[in-house]
């Protein structure tokens, strides 16, 4: 029967506190360094605060890096330290055993509590940023639509008939609300310098709220596999000063008018088919509009009672809910505090379709 040398007393190990102190000093030093120096070594253009939300997200990265670095340092440091000081020496017999310690409740309590507090703090901060990204800072954002295609991006601007491709322009210093959706498969809209991303999902509209703070040209990339040329699906994003942006937008409008002259014929509300309208509604409108009351919002308000809603006697543009006015909104789109709705042309609705959808909505009583 093998003898076992009596288990030795637990020793923390030579220089344990020195080693711990060194690691702690290193952690504090690097924490300060991470906190004060720009994160440009970790995130692109971090020191410029390209967008306000981006700056918030960079702050989260700072927080997580500080504590992540600390935890990693302690674990790695102790692994190396233990490996060196506690390895079995050559002169030690094989049957030496370590101290027979089974647990240390205080220790376990603290190393359960501290991480818990950390993640709670992180969760709280994340929630705030998440809310701002989802719902904006209150001021109605300038709404721009992004539509993913295999394999390029389409951009739509309020009041602009027709679309812009492959180059997105945003006004500097103005709250923006980017509405992201897709025409075919799932793509993604990612601007690394903005730290913001949303998948473009067909039949679904997501939004990102932020304010561009630095003029310049940035890269838009697709990060959700979308087919053969997924890796060639990029676009440019240009942030212009307001006047320059307005000039660009007017230029685009002029081009669109030249292109689409005479295409918009008057809507004949007399000949309309509510049944066809219902189909059109599910295909073209249901992604953003429910058939419930005004407040049952998806992206836009619910349209079930648009003609008969006492609570909202006026349409979103302030007109009376007559068929003509509703048709007018469907035809020309809408841009305001409630968001942006593309025009009939952008939605691929003929003037007959507009009449049908109007008739369908009118039939919901």
């Amino acid at each position: 029967m093998a003898q076992v040398s009596a288990p030795r007393k637990f020793s923390m190990g030579p220089y344990f506190w020195t080693v711990t102190a060194v690691m702690t000093f290193w952690n504090i030093a690097s924490a300060i360094w991470i906190a004060v120096t720009p994160l440009d070594y970790l995130l692109p253009k971090s020191s410029l605060n390209v967008t306000d939300r981006g700056a918030d997200i960079d702050f989260l990265f700072r927080f997580m890096s500080i504590f992540g670095n600390a935890i990693l340092t302690y674990v790695t440091g102790y692994v190396i330290y233990f490996s060196i000081v506690f390895r079995r020496r050559r002169d030690e017999p094989a049957n030496t055993v370590g101290p027979q310690i089974h647990d240390a409740p205080t220790l376990e309590f603290w190393w359960t509590l501290l991480p818990t507090l950390l993640v709670i703090a992180l969760a709280v901060m994340s929630t705030r940023v998440w809310y701002l990204v989802q719902y904006g800072t209150g001021a109605p954002g300038f709404a721009v639509e992004v539509i993913g295609h295999q394999f390029n991006y389409e951009f739509r601007y309020p009041g602009l008939q027709g679309s812009v491709y492959n180059e997105m322009h945003l006004p500097l210093g103005r709250p923006v609300r980017v509405l992201v959706s897709s025409a075919d498969v799932i793509h993604s809209f990612w601007v690394p310098e903005f730290r913001l991303k949303a998948d473009t999902v067909p039949g679904l509209v997501q939004n990102l709220n932020f304010t561009p703070q630095v003029a310049g040209t940035y890269l838009i990339e697709c990060t959700e596999f979308c087919g053969l040329n997924h890796s060639e699906m990029q676009a440019r994003l240009v942030v212009d000063p307001p006047d320059k942006f307005q000039a660009w937008l007017d230029g685009q409008k002029a081009k669109a008018q030249a292109g689409a002259s005479g295409s918009t014929t008057a809507v004949d509300l007399a000949q309309s088919d509510a049944g066809a309208g219902r189909t059109l509604f599910t295909q073209k409108c249901a992604a953003c509009h429910s058939l419930g009351g005004f407040d049952e919002k998806k992206v836009g308000p619910g349209l079930g009672k648009v003609f008969v809603d006492k609570a909202h006697a006026k349409l979103v543009d302030g007109d009376d809910p007559t068929k003509a006015n509703v048709a007018h909104i469907i035809e020309n789109g809408y841009n305001g505090p409630l968001g942006a709705m593309p025009s009939a042309q952008q939605n691929g609705l003929s003037s007959k379709d507009v009449a049908d959808v109007t008739a369908y909505l009118a039939s919901l009583k």
């Binding site: 049944g275 066809a276 309208g277 219902r278 189909t279 599910t282 249901a286 058939l291």
Partner: protein, 214 residues
């Protein structure tokens, strides 16, 4: 412990071992415990399979403004006919009751009653399948036509398949019982069959509510 009573493995023939195995009753009960737990876990996993598709059904149903959905051409699909489904459900539930009686009579050594009730169960089960077939035939919607058709035919089809397997299961059990596989004290197969059949009935309760009543 009396470790010496162990026959040295390898030194005894397969027959000895098998004989010893079959004569030791606790060995059977141990087996039964394992099989019972295993079978129940199998039923659990089956429940999860169904609940995934039920989840899909609820998800798809709530992701469109109105249900039954509107298909190309603006036609809104009809609701399913409750009356016949209610009747057919009762047929299936009835088969559950008869199966329970079959098991009860077996437990009380009433073999004749067992077979009578078992046959009743099988007949009702086949009747339910017939009803399903009739309903499939009379439906206006198609499997691939809409999410409604997709979820309905997939779920009820899966369930029908389970009923079909169950019917075969019960037939096999009947034949085994006739050829004396099961005794008054050892009838795990019958227990499993009963559990399976009840399980199939209960799945139908959920489907009946989701598709016909909701």
């Amino acid at each position: 412990m009396a470790a010496t009573t162990v026959a040295q493995p390898g030194h005894d023939s397969a027959d000895d071992v098998r004989a010893r195995y079959e004569n030791v009753d606790h060995a059977y009960h141990e087996q039964r415990e394992n099989r019972l737990l295993g079978f129940l876990l199998f039923l659990v996993s089956d429940v999860i399979l169904f609940s995934m598709f039920i989840f899909a059904y609820c998800y798809l149903r709530n992701s469109v403004p109105n249900w039954p959905p509107i298909v190309e051409g603006g036609r809104q699909l009809p609701r399913f006919d409750v009356n016949f489904a209610a009747f057919n459900s009762v047929v299936l539930f009835g088969s559950g009751a008869t199966m329970h009686f079959a098991m009860e009579s077996w437990k009380h050594q009433n073999r004749q009653g067992f077979f009578r009730w078992l046959i009743a169960t099988i007949v009702l089960g086949i009747g339910f399948l017939g009803g399903q077939a009739y309903e499939y035939g009379s439906l206006a919607i198609s499997w691939a036509g809409s999410t409604m058709g997709a979820t309905f035919f997939t779920l009820t089809g899966m369930h029908g398949f389970h009923v079909f397997i169950g019917v075969i299961f019960l037939c096999v059990l009947g034949l085994q019982a006739r050829s004396g596989v099961y005794t008054e004290s050892k009838y795990f197969g019958l227990t499993a069959g009963t559990l399976y059949w009840h399980f199939v009935d209960v799945i139908w309760v959920a489907l009946f509510f989701l598709f016909y009543l909701w």
